[in-house]
C-alpha cells in the first residue's frame, strides 16, 4: 500500500480516504516523522501489526525481546536523537511490561508515544482475555494518556499525543486503542498536526522583571555558582547556555542528566553534583552567595539534607515547569520559562566577568579529590583493574566522541564521573528512577537514534542480567552496540552501602553470572573477557574496531567503593572522600 501521499491531505480540501484505524495510526506516525518503532505484537494489537506489514519500506519496526526492552530502547532513541520515541505493545501483559519504562521516562522527562492494543470496546471492564485497565495503571506514570474506542478519534488523538509528549517539559504519553477501533474503517480527512490545546500551557510566560532581578543578583555576586540539568538539553539550549556561562565567567556543575550540555573539559565546567559527585561542587554549594539553577529540579540525590542545603545563598531557578520552582528549594528569583528563551535575555543583562579566585577554589578542591580518590582510581597500584581505569582508557580511544549509555550501580557513578563527553546528548542513563536493566536496551535505541555515533553501553554484572534477552534484538536487527560489562561479582552499589552502613553484612549481594562471552556467542555477538591490565587497551581497541556489536567483559576489583560520597541524611558539605 502506498498511501502516504494521498493521505496527508491539505485540511481545506476535505477529501477523504476510507481506511482502517490501524492504517490511520501508521499514517499519523509517518506524518509525525517517525522512522523507527520498538515493539512486540500480540492479540489485541494484531490489526496494527497487520497494517504494518505493508509499511515495511517506510517504518522500521524493531522486534524487541520484552516490552520493557522496547520502551527502554524508545527512551534511548529519544535521548540520543531529541525526537519522540515510539513503542508498540499488546494489551494486558504487554502493556504492564511497559510500566517501569513509563515511570523512568516520566521522571526523566523523556518524550515517548506508546501505543497499546486493547480488547474490543464491548469487552471493556469484563475481565476479558488479556484485558487490564491500562489507563488507570499508567495514569501516575504518564504525562497524558487516552483510550481510543473509535477509529475516528485516531488522527486527532495521535496528533495530541505527539504534541504533549514533546512540548514543554517532555514526557511519556500512552494511547490505548481497542481492537475494534484498529479494524474499523472510517473516512480519514487527512492528518493535521496539533500545536495547541486549550487547557495546556507547555511554556509559562517569561516575566522580564524576574530576568532583571536575576541579572542584578548575578552582577552583584562575589561567589556565583551555576547548577545545570537536563533542561538545557531538552530545550536545545546548549549554545545559549555556553554563551551565558562564558560571558558571566561563573563556574558550572552538572546533574547526572545534565552531563554533556557543555563539554566535560570546558574550563568553567567544575564537575558533577550529588551523592557521588565531585568534592568541590558539593562543598562549595554551601559557600556560594548566588546559586543559579538551570533546568534542574533539586533532586534529593543532588541536595542531600535539604535543611542544610545552600542556606547562605540567594537562589535563582530557571525552569520550564512552574511546579518545580520552590518545590524543594525556595528560590529568591523564579525564572519561569524555556531556558532557550530565558538564557539569552539573562546573558544580555549580565556583565562579562571572570571569577578567578572563586574558580581557583574549585580547582583546589579538585586537586584534593584527585589526590585522595581520582588518581588511585584511574592509576591503581594493585593488579586488579578498577572501573575508573576502564572508563579512562575508553576516553583515550574514543576521544570523548562516543555516546555512553550506563546502567545503574557503582559503574554508573564511575562512568558518569569519568566519561569524557564532547557532545550533547551523549550521556544516557536512568537518573530519577535508577532502573537496573536500562542500559542494554537503551543503547540499542540510542544507536538507532544516532546512527553515525559509536554507542558504548557500560553495565554491571547485575543489571545486564535484568534485560540480557535484548542480545536477541541486537542479533536480529544487526544494530552495532558496544557492550562493556564491568564485572565485580557483586551487586556492587548495594554491597558498598552494606559495607559502609550495615557493618559489612553482605545480605544477598553476591551474584553469580553466566559466561557472558558464551551467551553473546550464542546470540552470534562477538565478545571477549579480560582480567589483566595489559589486555585492556587491545581489547577496547578490538571492540571499537569490530564491525558490529561486541561484548567486552572486564573483571574488576571485587570490593571497590565509589567516592566521594554524601551519605544519606548528610548535607552536601559533609561529603566524604573515603
Amino acid at each position: 500500500m502506498e498511501l502516504t501521499q494521498e493521505l496527508v491531505i491539505e485540511p481545506q480540501k476535505k477529501e477523504t480516504v476510507n481506511v482502517s484505524g490501524s492504517v490511520a495510526l501508521l499514517e499519523a506516525l509517518i506524518a509525525e516523522g517517525t522512522e523507527t518503532i520498538f515493539g512486540y505484537p500480540g492479540g489485541a494489537i494484531m490489526p496494527i501489526y497487520d497494517a504494518l506489514y505493508d509499511y515495511n519500506d517506510r517504518l522500521n519496526h524493531i522486534l524487541v525481546r520484552h516490552e520493557q526492552g522496547g520502551i527502554h530502547a524508545g527512551q534511548g532513541y529519544a535521548r540520543s536523537s531529541g525526537k519522540v520515541g515510539v513503542v508498540f505493545a499488546t494489551s494486558g501483559p504487554g502493556a504492564t511490561n511497559l510500566i517501569t519504562g513509563l515511570a523512568d521516562a516520566q521522571i526523566d522527562s523523556t518524550p515517548l508515544v506508546c501505543i497499546t492494543g486493547q480488547v474490543f470496546a464491548h469487552l471493556l471492564g469484563t475481565d476479558a482475555f488479556q484485558e487490564t485497565d491500562v489507563i488507570n495503571i499508567t495514569t501516575p506514570v504518564t504525562k497524558w494518556n487516552y483510550q481510543v474506542t473509535d477509529a475516528n478519534e485516531i488522527p486527532e488523538v495521535i496528533a495530541k499525543a505527539f504534541y504533549i509528549a514533546k512540548s514543554g517539559r517532555p514526557g511519556p504519553v500512552l494511547i490505548d486503542i481497542t481492537k475494534n477501533a484498529q479494524i474499523q474503517k472510517f473516512d480519514f480527512e487527512g492528518y493535521v498536526k496539533c500545536n495547541h490545546i486549550r487547557s495546556y500551557r507547555p511554556k509559562p510566560i517569561v516575566r522580564h522583571t524576574y530576568i532583571e532581578q536575576a541579572a542584578a543578583l548575578i552582577n552583584n555576586a562575589k561567589k556565583p555558582f551555576i547548577l545545570f540539568g537536563q533542561g538545557v538539553l531538552l530545550g536545545s539550549a546548549e549554545q545559549e547556555f555556553k554563551t551565558f556561562v562564558e560571558k558571566s565567567g561563573i563556574p558550572a556543575a552538572w546533574t547526572i542528566l545534565g552531563a554533556g550540555a557543555i563539554p566535560t573539559d570546558h574550563p568553567l565546567n567544575v564537575g558533577m553534583l550529588g551523592m557521588h559527585g565531585n568534592y568541590g561542587p558539593n562543598v562549595l554549594t554551601n559557600e556560594c552567595d548566588v546559586l543559579i539553577a538551570i533546568g534542574m529540579r533539586f533532586d534529593d540525590r543532588v541536595t542531600g539534607r535539604l535543611d542544610k542545603y545552600a542556606r547562605q545563598a540567594q537562589v535563582i531557578h530557571l525552569d520550564i515547569d512552574p511546579a518545580e520552582i520552590d518545590k524543594n528549594v525556595k528560590s529568591t528569583v523564579p525564572v519561569w520559562g524555556d531556558c532557550k528563551e530565558t538564557l539569552p535575555l539573562l546573558t544580555k543583562l549580565v556583565e562579562a566577568k571572570q571569577h578567578t579566585e572563586w574558580l581557583a577554589l574549585f580547582n583546589d578542591y579538585t586537586r584534593k579529590e584527585v589526590e585522595a580518590v581520582i588518581h588511585k582510581e584511574l592509576n591503581p597500584e594493585s593488579g586488579e583493574m578498577t572501573m575508573g581505569e576502564v572508563i579512562n582508557q575508553l576516553n583515550e580511544i574514543t576521544k570523548g566522541e562516543a555516546i555512553i549509555v550506563t546502567d545503574v550501580g557503582q559503574h554508573q557513578m564511575v562512568a558518569c564521573r569519568y566519561a569524557k563527553l564532547n557532545n550533547t546528548r551523549s550521556n544516557i542513563t536512568s537518573g530519577g528512577l535508577g532502573t537496573m536493566g536500562f542500559a542494554l536496551p537503551a543503547a540499542i535505541g540510542a544507536k538507532f537514534g544516532a546512527q553515525d555515533k559509536t554507542v558504548v553501553a557500560i553495565i554491571g554484572d547485575g543489571g545486564v542480567q535484568m534485560t540480557i534477552q535484548e542480545l536477541g534484538t541486537i542479533m536480529q536487527s544487526g544494530v552495532d552496540v558496544k557492550i562493556i560489562i564491568l564485572n565485580n561479582r557483586f551487586l556492587g552499589m548495594v554491597r558498598q552501602w552494606q559495607e559502609l552502613f550495615n557493618e559489612r553484612r553482605y545480605s544477598f549481594v553476591d551474584i553469580q553470572s553466566p559466561d557472558f562471552v558464551a551467551v553473546a556467542a550464542a546470540y552470534r555477538i562477538a565478545g571477549k573477557r579480560i582480567d589483566e591490565r595489559e589486555q585492556l587497551i587491545p581489547a577496547l581497541t578490538e571492540m571499537l574496531n569490530n564491525k558490529g556489536s561486541f561484548l567486552l567483559e572486564v573483571m574488576v576489583t571485587k570490593e571497590n567503593n565509589v567516592f566521594p560520597m554524601v551519605p544519606q541524611g548528610c548535607s552536601v558539605s559533609e561529603i566524604r572522600l573515603k
Binding site: F120, A121, H122, L124, I135, N136, T139, P140, K143, W144, N145, Q147, T149, D150, N152, E153, I164, K179, N180, I183, Q184, I197, R198, S199, Y200, D321, P322, A323, D326, K327
Partner: protein, 201 residues
C-alpha cells in the same frame, strides 16, 4: 513540627477542567500519593458547556496547598486552579434528613425547631418526611442533634460548594476561552454494549 501543624487550615481548591474521562483519577492521585486526605470533593459542569468545576477541600498548610495546585494545573486537561481560605469564599453544604411523619406531626416543637434552623420539607409522605437545609457544617450538624431524639431515620450531606468572594470570578475568562476555542466534542463510544453483533474476528 508543631509550627507546621498550626499552619494547617481548611483550603478550598477550585479546579476548572475539560470534561474528560479519567481526569478525576489524575487529580485524586496528586493527593493520594502525598497521603493527603480530601475532606470534601464536589465536581459538576460549570456555567460553560464542556468545562467542569471541581471544589476540593483539604486541611493543609499554604505551602503544601500551593505546590499541590501547581501539580494539578500541570495536568493537560486542567484549565486553571485557584486556592482560597474559608475567609475568602462563600460556601455551603446541602443536607437531607429523613424523619417519621407521625412523630413530626405529633410534636409541634419539631416544626418550630426546623423553622429556626432554616430547614424546609422536600417530601412529605405518610411514613416519612424529608427535610433539607443548607449551611456550614456546624449548622447542618446542629439539626442532626435536634432531630436525633425524634428518631432520625436517614441523613446525607453533600460535598462543599464554594464561590470566591473576591473579584468577578472566572466566568468572563471562561467565556473568553469558550469564544476563542470552543470545547471539543466528547466522543460517545457507539460500539459499547453492541456486543458480538458488531465485532467478530
Amino acid at each position: 513540627m508543631s509550627e507546621q501543624l498550626t499552619d494547617k487550615q481548611e483550603y478550598n481548591i477550585t479546579v476548572y477542567t475539560e470534561n474528560q474521562i479519567g481526569l478525576l483519577n489524575r487529580i485524586a492521585i496528586i493527593f493520594t500519593r502525598r497521603k493527603i486526605n480530601i475532606d470534601s470533593l464536589n465536581t459538576s459542569p460549570s456555567e460553560i458547556e464542556s468545562i467542569h468545576r471541581f471544589n476540593i477541600v483539604i486541611t493543609e498548610s499554604e505551602d503544601v496547598v500551593r505546590k499541590l495546585c501547581r501539580q494539578i494545573e500541570k495536568q493537560v486537561e486542567v484549565l486553571k486552579v485557584y486556592y482560597h481560605t474559608n475567609a475568602d469564599v462563600i460556601w455551603q453544604e446541602l443536607a437531607l434528613y429523613k424523619v417519621s411523619t407521625d412523630i413530626i406531626a405529633e410534636k409541634v416543637s419539631v416544626e418550630r425547631l426546623l423553622r429556626e434552623n432554616g430547614a424546609r420539607a422536600v417530601v412529605i409522605r405518610k411514613d416519612y418526611t424529608v427535610f433539607e437545609t443548607t449551611g456550614h457544617r456546624e449548622e447542618t450538624d446542629q439539626l442532626i442533634k435536634i432531630l436525633q431524639p425524634f428518631g432520625l431515620i436517614e441523613f446525607v450531606r453533600s460535598a462543599r460548594v464554594a464561590i470566591i468572594k473576591d473579584s468577578e470570578g472566572f466566568n468572563s475568562k471562561l467565556r473568553e476561552f469558550e469564544r476563542l476555542e470552543p470545547g471539543e466534542d466528547v466522543y460517545e463510544n457507539e460500539y459499547l454494549n453492541k456486543g458480538e453483533k458488531v465485532f467478530t474476528m
